[in-house]
């Protein structure tokens, strides 16, 4: 268990310079969530085009894991269909739970694979997935 596994350069990069950070003018879905014990907060806004996630933006504050996960997650799903996003989330969950997962599908999100070695931090990495899940449920 080494710190470098957790705080990979790409994670710190996304923490300090998050992608898709901000708001969408007229989002189709919006949701938020928090980890009260550590104070992590994520809000997400989505814009759909047919079955596809045309745009996604987030705001929030919290630790490097929760914020970089939001940045990486939004990058990963932008442009995908809802079904693809759901499959990706499933793989991401598998990764965090220490199950087998499809690395190809996750892409850069795989940077968070070592979070599972830090049980106290798994919640941080899962927050944006929970928020995204809520938002996707708003899509009819």
């Amino acid at each position: 268990m080494s710190l470098e596994e957790l705080f990979k350069e790409i994670i710190i990069e996304h923490y300090q310079h998050p992608k898709n950070h901000g708001h969408i003018e007229h989002p189709d879905a919006r949701s938020e969530g928090s980890n009260p014990l550590c104070g992590d907060e994520i809000q997400m806004e989505l814009l759909f085009e047919g079955d596809r996630i045309k745009d996604v933006m987030f705001t929030g504050n919290g630790c490097s894991i929760s914020q970089s996960a939001a940045s990486l997650m939004t990058e990963a799903i932008k442009g995908r269909t809802v079904a693809e996003a759901r499959r990706l989330m499933e793989e991401y969950k598998n990764m965090l739970q220490g199950n087998d997962y499809d690395a190809g599908m996750l892409g850069d999100l795989e940077a968070l694979s070592d979070v599972k070695k830090f049980p106290a931090r798994v919640k941080c990495a899962s927050l944006s997935m929970a928020v995204l899940d809520q938002a996707l449920q708003q899509k009819k």
Binding site: M1, S2, L3, L6, F7, E9, I12, E13, Y15, Q16, P36, L37, C38, G39, D40, E41, N61, G62, C63, S64, I65, F118, A120, R121, C124
Partner: protein, 409 residues
């Protein structure tokens, strides 16, 4: 104080964590236990365990004696007038809720005012918040000044004849501020308000004199002062306890039960329904005896030195912000901080990888977090078994954390 000898009394302090010796700096959350406490507990279960107050046999006499001896030890430790005034609870939280459900429920009405400070732990805030909602009473919050001390002018002008209750953290679990409770009690009493002092953080670290303080209620938690989990104390003036309805009911707290009526037991047992945590009380007694043998003055003086050292050396961490009073005479050994660019949760993980245990989060003091404009802080908190070397290790690890997050930005 022979620190090497003292550290040997605490078995956990020789534990290796993440390949490093444990550096335990989360004492405001809970403290470690000396062998004397661990052995008091196993001694009970090996030798004289029995339900208290009930048996006519030797074991029960011994267990009852030990339980009531603990009450006397607590009385002495906080300088209460009588063991009648010492009620055992699970923790400080239950002690405060007891007051909310009994005295406050019976005496606070719509339009009455409850004053608490911005520094309160949720345990000395949420019970009053809920009570106020239920009753239509009003909560007022004493703000803190820039220097981390209470704004006593604001307190003075908030007090009025509508004030029925004042709740004060004796020592803040975030800022470490030691609040001027004696002065606040006497101001509150001129308005006829009752005062509840939350001593969860003060009792472990300084001499407590509830009679000198003249507070009406005082709460503490055993686990924060070397004692086991599951035991706390409510001190209350007997004049209050006498007038109060019981909190919980059941065995032990009654004198007589018929189908027509119930007669409650004498103080303090009227407030102890069911089989008490006599194990916890017996462990707490061993904890108090350990603290008394050291001397609370010694504990306080040693911790002040540690705090001075910490305040001085933590300042050398780049971009660190220390919350609370910067004058070590005004505070206990609790230092909350943030480092720009490194979230407290990340600090916690980085320190953990070096075997250093600190806390990160809102510290059950969200009103204070909001007031400080943050959602979380890191916090190091000391006890007399900590050393300056440990603080130096903390500082070194904080610098490393800053570096880890600094090199990219």
């Amino acid at each position: 104080m022979d620190i090497e000898k003292i550290r040997k009394d605490f078995p956990i302090l020789s534990r290796i964590v993440r390949d490093r010796p444990l550096v335990y700096l989360d004492n405001a959350a809970t403290t470690q236990k000396p062998s004397a406490v661990i052995e008091a507990i196993s001694g009970l279960y090996r030798n004289y365990n029995a339900n208290v107050h009930r048996g006519v046999y030797l074991l029960a006499e011994e267990a009852t004696q030990a339980y009531e001896d603990s009450r006397e030890a607590v009385r002495r430790f906080i300088n209460a007038g009588s063991t009648e005034e010492v009620v055992f609870t699970r923790n400080a939280t239950e002690a405060l809720n007891l007051v909310a459900y009994t005295w406050a429920d019976a005496n606070i009405r719509a339009g009455d005012e409850i004053i608490v400070t911005i520094m309160e732990h949720h345990s000395n805030y949420v019970p009053w918040f809920r009570l106020a909602r239920r009753k239509g009473a009003v909560i007022k919050i004493v703000p803190s000044r820039k220097d981390g001390e209470l704004d006593m002018d604001a307190f003075g002008s908030m007090l009025s004849d509508r004030t029925k209750l004042v709740g004060i953290a004796h020592m803040s679990n975030v800022f470490g501020t030691i609040n001027p409770v004696r002065e606040m009690v006497s101001l509150a009493h001129t308005r006829g308000a009752a005062v509840v002092v939350d001593g969860a953080q003060s009792a472990p670290h300084m001499k407590i004199d509830v009679r000198g303080m003249d507070c009406d209620f005082f709460a503490l938690s055993g686990h924060k002062m070397l004692g086991p989990a599951g035991i706390g104390v409510l001190y209350a003036k007997s004049s209050y306890l006498k007038s109060m309805e019981p909190f919980m009911s059941g065995g032990e707290m009654i004198l007589r039960v018929t189908l027509e009526d119930v007669v409650y037991n004498d103080l303090p047992w009227k407030f102890e329904a069911g089989t008490p945590n006599y194990e916890g009380a017996i462990g707490l007694k061993a904890a108090i005896e350990y603290l008394e043998a050291l001397g609370m003055d010694t504990v306080e003086a040693y911790e002040r030195e540690l705090t001075e050292h910490a305040l001085r050396s933590m300042k050398t961490v780049p971009d660190i912000f220390l919350y609370g009073p910067s004058d070590p005479a005004k505070k206990g050994g609790i230092i909350a901080f943030n480092i720009k660019g490194v979230h407290s949760h990340d600090i916690g993980t980085i320190l953990d990888s070096e075997g250093i245990a600190i806390r990160a989060g809102h510290h059950c003091a969200q009103p204070l977090m909001i007031d400080c404009g943050v959602s979380a802080m890191a916090r190091a908190s000391f006890y007399f078994y900590n050393t300056e070397q440990e603080i130096d290790m903390l500082v070194k690890a904080l610098k490393k954390a800053k570096e880890m997050f600094g090199h990219v930005a």
